[in-house]
Symmetry: C2
Subunit: 413 residues, 2 copies
Amino acid sequence: MPRLLVQKFGGTSVRDIERVNAVADRVAASVVGGDRVVVVVSAMAGETDRLEGLGFEVVARPPPREMDVLLSAGEQVSVALLSMALMERGCRARSRLALQIGIRTDGNHTKARIEHIDVEGLNADLAGGVTPVVAGFQGTAPNGDITTFGRGGSDTTAVAIAAALEADECQIYTDVEGVYTADPRIVENARRLDAVTFEEMLELASLGAKVLHSRSVEFVGKYGVPLRVMSSFDEGPGTLITTEETTMEQPLVSGLAYARDEAKLTVLGVPDVPGVASKILGPIGAASIEVDMIVQNTGADGSTDLTFTVRRADYERARETLAGIQKVLGARGIEGDDRIAKVSAVGVGMKSHAGVATRMFDALAAENINIQMISTSEIKISVVVAERYLELAVRAIHDAFGLGDAIAVEDAG
Amino acid sequence: MPRLLVQKFGGTSVRDIERVNAVADRVAASVVGGDRVVVVVSAMAGETDRLEGLGFEVVARPPPREMDVLLSAGEQVSVALLSMALMERGCRARSRLALQIGIRTDGNHTKARIEHIDVEGLNADLAGGVTPVVAGFQGTAPNGDITTFGRGGSDTTAVAIAAALEADECQIYTDVEGVYTADPRIVENARRLDAVTFEEMLELASLGAKVLHSRSVEFVGKYGVPLRVMSSFDEGPGTLITTEETTMEQPLVSGLAYARDEAKLTVLGVPDVPGVASKILGPIGAASIEVDMIVQNTGADGSTDLTFTVRRADYERARETLAGIQKVLGARGIEGDDRIAKVSAVGVGMKSHAGVATRMFDALAAENINIQMISTSEIKISVVVAERYLELAVRAIHDAFGLGDAIAVEDAG
């Protein structure tokens, strides 16, 4: 029974023509083996940065609509090149842009969300023996404008197409062998995981483990798309993202993630009355700035301080937004720090165990790392620390949970 | 009365961000001055070459459909950047791609022809005070594929849009100050022409005077679009392309053009019977190879040699096509030379004068340059010479007709 696969290749997988040819070999092998394949490709490594740089050279804050036109050119180049390479191998490949196949999104430029995928064109391609090579990262707004999905958005394209076509598997090819217990560039003995649950993956992805775009993982949960993260360069099983907890003895913590490009803002001394948080965060949301962690401390004098984190790129804009409403809020002042980082421990195993947080905090204390903010969920504990302690914090926590040791099975403290 | 202008900027005019800003200043000045403007932009200088190079790195003969997807990404980048720069100057600019505004072409990839332009979107932009920034060089085939118009095709985009919108003037901004009597890089005393007729311009453009894409000049004749070639870098009147012979004393020769990237093929000893030329050139045309000059000599033995020229890039493919039909033709052999060049003298003034050809051939003979082929029309005489004699030939003919001397008015010999 031939399978229907969606194979997604990231920027490093198509960094140069040699790599493009290697990707074509891999896709062609699947097609020759009898599988039907939809390919999704990112821009060649470095190209999105180059294009973005041109935009910022023109103007300090490029208008998002034109930024999307600019950046989406990168994927247009890579789909054309990969299609050529596939045709050279006897595959009937055809490049497909978002404007051509109908990847319909909202109109939120530079961070659009997919609302619908027109499957007719892709199905016609597959029925006709054509391998569509789809430009990742890009979509079409209701008014016909080009939109993009934010960095890593090609993953979302792939998973959304896999969901729409009810594909047998969505394979995300990348420059790592799978999902690790922590970033191997920071933690020497980080270990590849055979499987993680999609809830864990969602936390890992959204928290900066750069293997997958978090929107793509949401689709796994929502539509049950079987997703596998694999290496473009080595043969290997990769990491399967499952909708179930697969092992009986679930480790306490499956992996660590970090986010380096964070910033925090504190609104000082606002009246501690109902609705003050939404008065602060409403304008931030209206400015399309994503807020991550939120902490509010109640003071003794009837006023309170509210701290939240945003992406570092949004820091200045968030500060200006707050400055504009400071008077209305009756706030004493605005403070901020754009040199912070977030480290998170993630694991479905921590649901049923106490003491995880304590072990994590102890590990940081032993290294004299001050914790600035804490946030927890059922399967995750996150802390904010000064950016300069990031690597040290990740290694300390990795050791504390014995993640580098493939044999150890963790138990609650 | 505000004018409706189409302003087209070539690759050198948007080579870097500094130039993009200079173009934006110029367009914004027109808009502030009250004109309504549609902008057409080429890819940044060097970008089309870079992209094409990537394609040829993948495969020796890139499939034309994917080549069009690849190359059209270049214009996508420049329209986004220029739109940003215009918005920064308070212009309500919006980038518009061929897929978005409906520049409808045939399906002949890499050398498509415009069949229709949907003016509704552009008119809506103009009516709403928006300055559309249109990607040149690209169109959409009936099946929704991206097509391109060949090098210099952005001129065609501009003129076709000017015709469709019935614009007051189509201004082609380039890196030269107008149309010259000959390429100033080859001929030191070449002179800018105030005006040329569109017939002359058509010959000059199609024969390699790289100022304008020949398809764009055809539109001038067909729709009477007032066209002006101007410098992006200097203020100046440029050269007006007219539909009339504007001066009473028309010079014998208005200008010289050359085409360097030419090749010739000779089919030797085919039976001299009716229909043999079409048997040879039919398969060449079917392979989408453009034939330029055709010369046939009748031999004494009932057989004939037929020679024709093609673009150098098509040479190998043309040779293979001929090799495939040699037996059917009963030809004795195939010969070729891909190191030839064509030099042409163009002028509506030669219509009513004899002796122009003689003066041209004398000039070449005086320099010991062998003429390999000759072709003439009402307003043009072309010769093929070995490529290494190209510059020498151009200078000799330029001198022979006194083109460098602004005062001299030529008379028939």
